[in-house]
Amino acid sequence: MDFAFSEQDEALRAEARSFFANEYPQDLIAKLAEGRPLEKADYLRSEQALSSKGWLAVEWPVEHGGTGWTPTQKYVFDEELELAGALNVTPFGLLYVGPVIYTFGSEAQQQRWLPDILAGRVLWAQGYSEPEAGSDLASLQCRAERVGDEYVVNGIKTWTSLGHHADWIFCLVRTDDSGRHQEGISFLCFPMDSPGIRVHPIIGIDGHHSLNTVEFRDVRVPVENRIGEEGKAWGYSKYLLANERTSYAHIGGKRVALQELRKLAGALAPGGLSLLDDPLFAARLAQVEIDFRALEVSVLRVLSSLAAGDAPGPESSALKILATENAQAITELYIEAAGHYGLSRGLPWDAPEWARSAVPDFARPAMTRYLSTRAESIYGGTNEIQRNVISKRVLGL
């Protein structure tokens, strides 16, 4: 056993590091670091930069325009992206619907939708959750009624990230409610500017607008926009959720944050002592770092299994819980490090210099990140649901 990456993996790491330092838009890195809200053009510009290098669809097989990378290579790339502070790719087109399209979609559907995703020209949104269907997704009620060559869609989807920016949406809709909840669900794709769609913003507890409720009233969708068979979409969606699981680790981002925290905490205060000299803070930071190390090795164990051609072991099912709880703990350390400026939202850019410069740079986004990161233990299946899954499938309880 050893932890060494292969020569090819290290070569990719070096190439990626150079790309993010030289070719990737540096202003986007700065904007993200300052915690300023991102606009649609920012996402597109980031994805087009990756696309021009051929590195946007890292999860996709070569025949569909992807990189064909091994899981370890994807991991190395993701880590470098986050170490550089670049934008993570928007998952809805690239990680979620893309693989569904090339796995279950027709030839015509693949030619119609994949090139725009590959080129970073369009953004997609996901229409899964509904007000009454969260953890219990199969109870969804958004209805699609077949009328001739079209479906007429009525209902409400919510917690739609990027819904206000998206060009297209993929939705789970109910085409038949005569059977079990999991039956009679179909997978439809349609443009967000279709008549009958209204997008209502949801302002989050961090004060930012990133989520939406999307309302459908008699939205007409051609039957040819349905992926796979009518009523069989539950299976496709479960395939998609499996793709979601490994995307939570964000090892690179956590490594950067913990290194930055150590640096910030080590800076001497006027009294001559640093936060690292304080045993309480030093111990708390060490604790979170140890949890991070456990997470990192758990991810590497999954990669090692996959590289050997084996199915990942039970450690993979704990990743979502470990990764999200570690992310939340890191944000708490930032608030503590910010001290009395922890509750500041930062002063506006037009505030006078004497006032603005008093608030440490890292304190500005600290609280916003603390608040928004609370969502990590809720989305993608709450951590309570994840624990149910482990107790049933792994422990056999």
């Binding site: 969260g134 507890i205 803070f281 608040l371």
Partner: protein, 371 residues
């Protein structure tokens, strides 16, 4: 021993409860323009009419003849409807300092108008590099003929935009001295901003502010002692506020899990959810116990006052974080929105932990005091 509320305290609690029900519209509480002072002046006048702005003052000082215990009862109830008025900095902390150290002239000029609600005071104590240490003061007070010239930078001044009076700590030859300064004195600049809980705080710059000898609050060099006592009062007030927020979150989350259905049943029927709520309940009870202890000890100025006060702040910070996070978690996506009051209490609890020392700061203080 008697740890129950007196008849007067029960009456106060009911009055505050009815006031919150009648007057506070949670959705509107924080829905004010960024340039707004942050609360309705009309509410402040009603506080004055109810005698709440002098709740800790003896009758001869124009007060309601109550104690810090009464103040805690009041604050805990008001917090259930979100306390956005400057009750704690002005009517508890600054009022306490003025009552203990104020001259007759300061009493007439500041305290009387504060009691009737026409003037508001706040504390300008922290600095960019002080973190939570009130004795780390680099603002300077230089002696001049008949007075002082004060210069420095004060940070995160709570309710700065509303304040007519600033109580400023500054270092001079004798140590730390407190000054009572009109907020519009020449040489004082203020930059206001919103804090994460939707309240207001200011950065304050003092450039050669001229203060007469009559601006000194108490004796010169005695500031640190006065601030220690004020800090203990702040712990009691903030502990009571945190407790009110936690109890509101617990009640609203219990209601929510009874009505929210997933997998064909109320999520409150799942054991993991039940146990979580039980832990939230236990956390509230712990804070309630430490709050009673601290309120009584600090009120009586007992030797254990600071220990009890820091114990309360530690637990209020930890339990407040736990209850806030779990209320959000159990509300799922709804907990992440600004549409429910859940987020407002959660953010206020988070802010309370970052005021007058977070739980780590008071854990250290407790350790130091108990050696």
């Amino acid at each position: 021993m008697n740890l129950s509320l007196s008849e007067e305290q029960q009456l106060l609690q009911q009055t505050a409860q009815r006031f919150v029900e009648r007057e506070f519209d949670l959705r509107k509480r924080l829905d004010l323009e960024p340039g707004h002072v942050g609360f309705e002046r009309d509410h402040w006048q009603q506080y004055a009419k109810n005698g709440w702005l002098s709740i800790t003052l003896p009758e001869e000082a124009g007060g309601a003849d109550g104690s810090l215990v009464d103040a805690a009862v009041l604050i805990q109830e008001l917090a259930k409807g979100l306390l956005v008025e400057p009750l704690i900095p002005s009517a508890i902390l600054a009022t306490g300092l003025l009552e203990r150290f104020g001259s007759e002239a300061q009493d007439a000029r500041y305290l009387r108008p504060m009691i009737d609600g026409t003037r508001i005071a706040t504390l300008a104590l922290l600095e960019p590099d002080s973190r939570y240490d009130l004795s780390r003061v680099s603002t300077s007070a230089q002696r001049t003929d008949g007075g002082f010239r004060i210069s420095g930078h004060k940070s995160m001044v709570w309710h700065g935009p509303a304040a007519d009076l600033l109580i400023v700590s500054a270092r001079d030859a004798d140590g730390i001295t407190l000054f009572a300064l009109d907020a519009d004195s020449p040489g004082i600049e203020r930059h206001d901003s919103l804090t994460i809980d939707g309240q207001r705080a200011s950065e304050v710059r003092l450039s050669d502010v001229r203060a007469g000898a009559d601006a000194v609050l108490g004796a010169q060099g005695d500031g640190e002692l006065g601030l220690e006592r004020m800090l203990d009062e702040a712990m009691v007030a903030l502990g009571a506020e945190a407790l009110g927020c936690m109890q509101a979150l617990l009640a609203q989350t219990v209601d929510y899990v009874k009505s929210r259905k997933q997998f064909g049943q109320a999520i409150g029927s799942f054991q993991v959810v039940q146990h979580r709520l039980v832990d939230m309940f236990i956390a509230c009870e712990q804070v309630q116990s430490l709050m009673i202890r601290a309120a009584i000890e600090v009120s009586a100025e007992s030797p254990d006052a600071s220990l009890a006060a820091s114990a309360l702040k530690v637990k209020a910070g930890q339990a407040g974080r736990f209850v806030g996070q779990q209320a959000v978690q159990l509300h799922g996506g709804m907990g992440m929105t600004g549409e429910l009051p859940i987020g407002l209490y959660f953010k206020r609890l988070t802010a309370i932990d970052a005021q007058f020392g977070d739980s780590s700061h008071h854990l250290r203080r407790y350790g130091r005091l108990s050696r």
